[in-house]
Amino acid sequence: MAGESQDQGDGDKSEEKEGKKELEKWLNKSMKIEMSDGRTLIGVFLCTDKDRNVILGSCEEYLKPPDSTEEREEPRILGLAIVPGQHISTIHVDEDIK
């Protein structure tokens, strides 16, 4: 299938490879995405494409940014969710401190 073409052989541009490496580094890490309507999603980064549509696994939805000082709200469990690229405002990745 066209969409599933893995990187085939020698990439022409080294820059392209670097971008990919960067993304692969983030795979399966926790990711926080703020959407254009103000909601925040937290889930595991599973998949993306050229238009930066992002698929998050075990995704939770917060109406307000969860770090805000206000009382903690209960998230809604969404499971697997795809966020269209044009609705993504910011992306954060969880950096493990080891």
Partner: protein, 933 residues
Amino acid sequence: MHEEFLLKFFEEGIVSFGGLQAAICHDFESPVAKIEIQILGLLGELLLGPWMKRFYTSKEMQISHVDGIGVVKDIIARIQTSVISPLKTLTAMANFFGDELTQDDELVKLQRDPDDVPLFVFMMKCCLTSIVGVLEKQYRPNFELNITAELKKETESASRHNIDAEQIMGMFGALKGHAPNATLCYISSRMSAPKNNVVDYLDSLASEKRKKLVNLAINVPLDVQKSVVLERPVYNWKDVTEEFISAASQLKLGELLHDQSFGLFEAMSAIEMMDPKMDAGMMCNQIKRKVLSLEQATESGAVKSKDLSYRELIGVIDATLACLVTWLEGHSLAQTIFTNLYLHNPLVLEDRCLKAFSICMLKTVDHIREKVNRASVFEEEDFQPMTYGFKLAADVSDMRCTGMMKEVEDDLNRTMKNTRSKAGAERDSATEQEHDEAVALHSRVKFYRLFLTMLLSFGKDRCEGIPQAQKLLSQLSELLPNIRSTVDIGIKPDQTENNKNDYPTIMGFEPLVNHRLLPPTFPRYTVIRSRPDSINYLDSLLKRLQVATTLPEINSLHIIFDIFKEFSKSSPCVLSRSILQLVLLPPSRRIYGTHTIVDFFKDSIRNFIAPPGLCQKSPLYNNPQAKEYIDALLTHAVRPLCNLLQITGHNRARQRDKWAHILDDLSSLQEEADKVDAFLHNILIKSEPGRQHLACFGSWVLYYTLQAMISYAISGFELELYATYEYHYVYWYLYELLYAWLISALQRADNFLQEHENYMELQQKGRSNKKNKKKKRLRTLGKEITLAQAQQQMFGGYYKAVRGFEMDGKMKHPHFEFDSEEVRYSHRFAPFANVVTPPMIHFAQYKEMSDLRRYEPEPSAQSLYGASCKCFHQAKAFLESVPNPSEEIQSLIKVSKTNFVVMKLLMGGHKQGSKDPTEFDFTVHGIYPIIKL
């Protein structure tokens, strides 16, 4: 006496239970039992023993699944030779697997000559035939397999037997029996404990260590819970927006970056955010106002919890009813009833009326939910039983709840007395208004109290509450007009404009309060019914429930079946459907809570066909073997026939599939019934050569098989599945086959009834002189026969008309590429192929049987119209002969009359040569259309 025994028991620890032993000895001395045991033993040697040995082996030793099919095939062939001569099993040297039998003492004992050879032959034959039947039924699909090496490889890992599954199921059943209220979780851990050897492991530990471990196990979940509540995972977020965007833009068009384990397939099940069709969460951010809970709202003063005015109370009550009705129409509780904030915690409410009503409403919801769940005649589109963890006022008893309502009612009564117009005294308009509002509120409070009481009385054991329910229903109906006329008094939302999920409401209602509870599926938009609409809904609900109260007077299954089918025709709501089912068959699984199902069947059969086997005067009645066979048959009949009644409780669209499904069960029941009839007949002719017992139980079962087939065929019209160019074979099948069989089955039954009455009279004549020679028949199926004949003639009329239209070019046939009438025909009647009686008419046979060239001279379109006209005329005559015609019959008369006239016109050459397609108008009746030119 018992005390003595007990004392003795305590002293000696032993008591002889001579009685039991004696009983067993006595039973085993009966020649019949001996033969039964001999047959069982033989079958064990010949089939069951080797079967277990061959198939129920450990995983490593098992033979391939595919080879097993071959083995079963051979077995069936061997058994079939034994069916022909059952006596050979007495001399057999090899078992059904072809392996040699070990000649030991046991075998010699088992193979010795039985005392009653004919009985042995008969019983053995029956056993073997049914073994073949079961094996063939289960393996038939397998025999048709084309066995290839590839298939062998694919099925390599499949288990040969289901003994593990059986064991688990058995354990589950036993545990459920021990603890009927246990949760699945509990049962599953109870089962895993022995299965995983956890208990053994614990037993093997030293007691101190064990104690430590158990304590740990108890504390771990608590700790986990605490940590979940207190400490969410702490993230160390780093903004990577820029990097991400630039890195992603380097991907090729269509390229996906993903882990090995994640593919397109997984991606498909993701829900798309910001898509209004999929993202239920979008709503929450698009509204400006803050969504408040009950506590927040009362604190802020937006919602009053005390001193509500009458107008406000009436508004809340009516709006809640609208929610209740919307819930009953298949929406979720969270988006209907529980948009009413007051119901979230009625105990904190200070207004007495509001509190009582809220508790009463929660109780009502709980009872409705319980009834609908019990009857289980709903599908996901009918009803949502999820409660989302809301408490349904379980801590207040039903008595207390109705008591609270009654108190409020009494208060209102006093107000009404104080404010009503007194002779001589002028009322000011304020008092008058207060009076009207109090009356309106009073009738509502009373209504919901009685409604709850009515639900409760339907739930009483042995249908004891039915008379009360009947009374309550008429009281409720009397209250409705007043509620309807005062619906405008209640407060109303500001504007009536509705948007999809959020809509203006009155105080105390918040459509979005439960939004976060909704599952992450696509959003379902709930439009709450209008208040007048929901009152109409109640009105028809009450009328339908009246039907349920008349049920317990009826003691014939076929009449109940007719009532159920008739009831279903009006597409009743899920609550009335469930209550009807529960009145007939409450959770005690006794008909009307009093008769066992088998006894009820016996009574029904006596009323339907009066078989000698169930007649007390008949010698068969006291024949123990005959009785045993009949009981076995009727026990087997319980499941399919109860299912048949349950089908009528489902919504109309779901019934069609279920009719098709049940034909399998009915067909095997039919086979058994025929065998029992044959057996009883053999016994009967020995004592009474003049009488017969053939096709007694058989006809009874056949009647229901045919009813199911007819319902299946007819439902296609109602569901608008058939295209007009398909009508000819559907009409033909109904006319020539199904109704013809039904009429003959009914006539056979009627003859038996007649014969039975004659027989009873003969018996009586010996004692008393003939009193009334022309006695009116006690039981007859006259009405059923007439109706079946009328319907047959209707379908005959349609069939002949359709054939005429075809000939005249008034019926368009599509000419698609690859179109095949045969494929369509086989598809339409596919479920009938599993039924043995009546046999399926295949397409080629249909073509041959319906070929007009068989007639001399070949009929013209005109003569077909004439024949059709005659059919409709006859149908009309049959229908008009029925005394006290129901609404259904009256509309059928109307249809047959109109069609009769239309056909007469066509016969006379009206619109001859016109190629305009004929129309079928289903507005008067959903199944029998009016033909329009």
